[in-house]
Amino acid sequence: MSSLDQALWVLLLGSLLGLELIGKVPPTLHTPLMSGANAISGITVLASLTLIAEAQGNPALLVLGAVSLGFALFNVIGGFLVTDRMLAMFSRKSDSRKPSGGEA
């Protein structure tokens, strides 16, 4: 991090962005939104990867990094797939045109 105040600005703006993006959510989407957001919070994978790559052969760091990578990826992959499963059920009938969903 180049500087603390820069990081704090990023934090502040990110929070405001989150508040702004999720203004009004229809109740139908509460669960998928939550599990989708949950998957995004698994972005800790980046921290785990950094840890492993910069371990410089330290076995403890490698192991801890790999374990945390496992947990975070479980969160990410599971989260996106389960969200997709739920949303597939919604789009099955609420839309006559089938939106082509991306795959995680």
């Binding site: 990081a7 934090l11 703006l13 990110g14 962005l17 989150g18 508040l19 993006l21 203004g23 009004k24 109740p27 139908t28 989407l29 509460h30 669960t31 998928p32 939550m34 599990s35 989708g36 957001a37 949950n38 995004i40 698994g42 972005i43 800790t44 994978v45 980046l46 785990s48 990867l49 950094t50 840890l51 492993i52 790559a53 052969g57 403890a60 760091l61 490698l62 801890l64 990094g65 790999a66 374990v67 945390s68 990578l69 496992g70 947990f71 975070a72 990826l73 479980f74 969160n75 992959i77 599971g78 797939l81 389960v82 997709d84 739920m86 919604f90 609420s94 939106p99 991306g102 995680a104």
Partner: protein, 480 residues
């Protein structure tokens, strides 16, 4: 700035943009599915970009492969196998693992971090450990409670828990302060104190919370997992983590607020007030016993079927019991029969029905219930007076008329579905035990209410059989 750094910035910015668009799209029905894909794409992009920048050596690649294989495979299997009825537990589990990842990253940096760390870094580590540990243990307890593995122990409803939790919070604070003050590597005792105390604190604050408040807890924990990711971003110095974590944290807070409004409770009273009903004397039915009811009328599925056959307008009120009994497909079958019989069928969805926000919508969508038939509380409430038959399926507190009329009820003030306005109400329930919140329901004693005792799925199947035997089914067969 080297070309590689510039490349990293571009990738990060692109990933943030896609994540923001994904989150935005997730709040609209039409775009939700592609938005989810977009967010997943952003995540993949961020990972690829980071790997190109970091250029891990072969040993590192090996460990990355191990972690990826384990986490990815388990995630894949879980996501495919888990039934829709178990969605709240699953989200709680994923959530807890996200928290665990942040916790591990911070612990690893604290224990084996290279060189001298500044005050800012140490404070980031403290926050990351604290929030990560609470998210992890809190989510796992929430999952256990949702699965029915863990109950709500008696001591957690007394003031003992406040003493316990305050002690744990203070212990975490002491550990945190010592960690932040001391230079890295000068003894790991404060770290372990922080880890243990905050893990126990996560258990201590989640354990007392009653099942009826679970939607609030799940969305709050979801918000925490975002905060944990942002804190981990401060630890490893990644702005992308900070942005993404902050977005999830803020979005989770909004959902939490929506849930609290729907229950007419403040977040503080959910967190510190203990399980609803535990403190209310006299009115409490008590888990499982039948105290407090005097005018209960029960009826058979046959009588219920006769009422349904003649009803022009039927409203189903699903609750957690529907999920437990996995009765959503049986319910859809019954409503198809009724529609073939000329009845107008709709579903009344209370915002906090079930154990997570939007739980019922997911279940009914799985059973192919048309989206338009799911009506929100404000839309359906004026319709109840002209409704012939209401069938309450495993819902309880969200239909309790005491919430409107009895100021002494712990539910007083919570917006409820006004099913007592309908001509006839059938409540499908396994026993007369109080709801998960432990509060007696005045609806059950009203003259227009009849109880149909049994498992929701079994009762619904009986109703279908009865209706078919009265000739309703033949028209369906022709229509199908």
């Amino acid at each position: 700035m080297s070309a590689l750094d510039a490349f990293g910035y571009v990738i990060d910015l692109l990933a943030v943009l896609l994540l923001a668009l994904g989150l935005k799209g997730l709040s609209k029905v039409r775009s939700a599915r592609s938005a989810n894909g977009l967010a997943a794409l952003a995540m993949g992009l961020a990972v690829a970009g980071l790997l190109i920048q970091l250029q891990p050596d072969p040993t590192a690649w090996l460990w990355i492969a191990v972690g990826t294989a384990a986490g990815g495979l388990l995630g894949l299997l879980t996501a495919q196998r888990v039934p829709m009825t178990a969605m709240p537990e699953t989200v709680a589990l994923f959530n807890g693992c996200g928290g665990m990842a942040s916790l591990l990253v911070a612990v690893a940096v604290a224990l084996f971090g290279s060189g001298d760390s500044g005050l800012v870094e140490r404070i980031s580590i403290v926050i990351s450990v604290f929030v990560g540990a609470i998210t992890f243990s809190g989510s796992i307890v929430a999952m256990g409670k949702l699965q029915g593995w863990i109950g709500t122990p008696g001591w957690t409803q007394s003031s003992v828990r406040h003493a316990v939790n305050i002690t744990l919070a203070l212990a975490s604070l002491v550990g945190g302060i010592f960690m932040a003050a001391a230079a890295a590597g000068s003894g790991d005792l404060p770290l372990w104190l922080l880890v243990v105390a905050s893990t126990l604190l996560g258990i201590g604050v989640t354990l007392p919370i009653g099942g009826a408040d679970m939607p609030v807890v799940i969305s709050l924990l979801n918000s925490y997992s975002g905060v944990a990711a942002a804190a981990a971003g401060f630890v490893v110095g990644s702005q992308l983590l900070i942005v993404a974590g902050a977005m999830v944290g803020a979005a989770g807070l909004i959902l939490t607020q929506v849930m609290c409004t729907a229950m007419n409770r403040s977040l503080l009273s959910v967190l510190f007030g203990g399980a609803l009903g535990a403190a209310a004397g006299g009115h409490v039915g008590g888990g499982g016993d039948e105290a407090g009811y005097s005018r209960i009328v029960s009826c058979s599925a046959e009588e219920c079927a006769m009422a349904l056959e003649n009803a022009e307008r039927v409203v189903f009120v699903p609750g957690y019991g529907l999920a437990v009994a996995q009765a959503q497909h049986a319910l859809r079958e019954l409503s198809k029969l009724l529609e073939a019989n000329g009845s107008e069928v709709s579903y009344a969805i209370h915002p906090v029905a079930g154990r997570m926000p939007g739980h019922m919508n997911v279940l009914l969508a799985e059973a192919d219930v048309p989206y338009e038939q799911l009506l929100e509380m404000d839309t359906i409430n004026p319709e109840f007076p002209r409704t012939d038959v209401v069938i309450v399926l495993g819902a309880n507190d969200v239909v309790n008329p005491d919430a409107k009329t009895d100021p002494s009820s712990p539910l007083y003030g919570m917006p409820v579905l006004e099913v007592d306005q309908a001509r006839q109400v059938f409540v499908v329930k396994r026993s007369l035990g109080a709801g998960y919140a432990g509060i007696a329901n005045a609806l059950f004693e009203l003259p227009q209410t009849a109880m149909v005792f049994g498992d929701a799925k079994a009762v619904l199947q009986q109703l279908c059989t009865e209706l078919r035997s009265q000739g309703v089914g033949s028209k369906v067969a022709a229509a199908a």
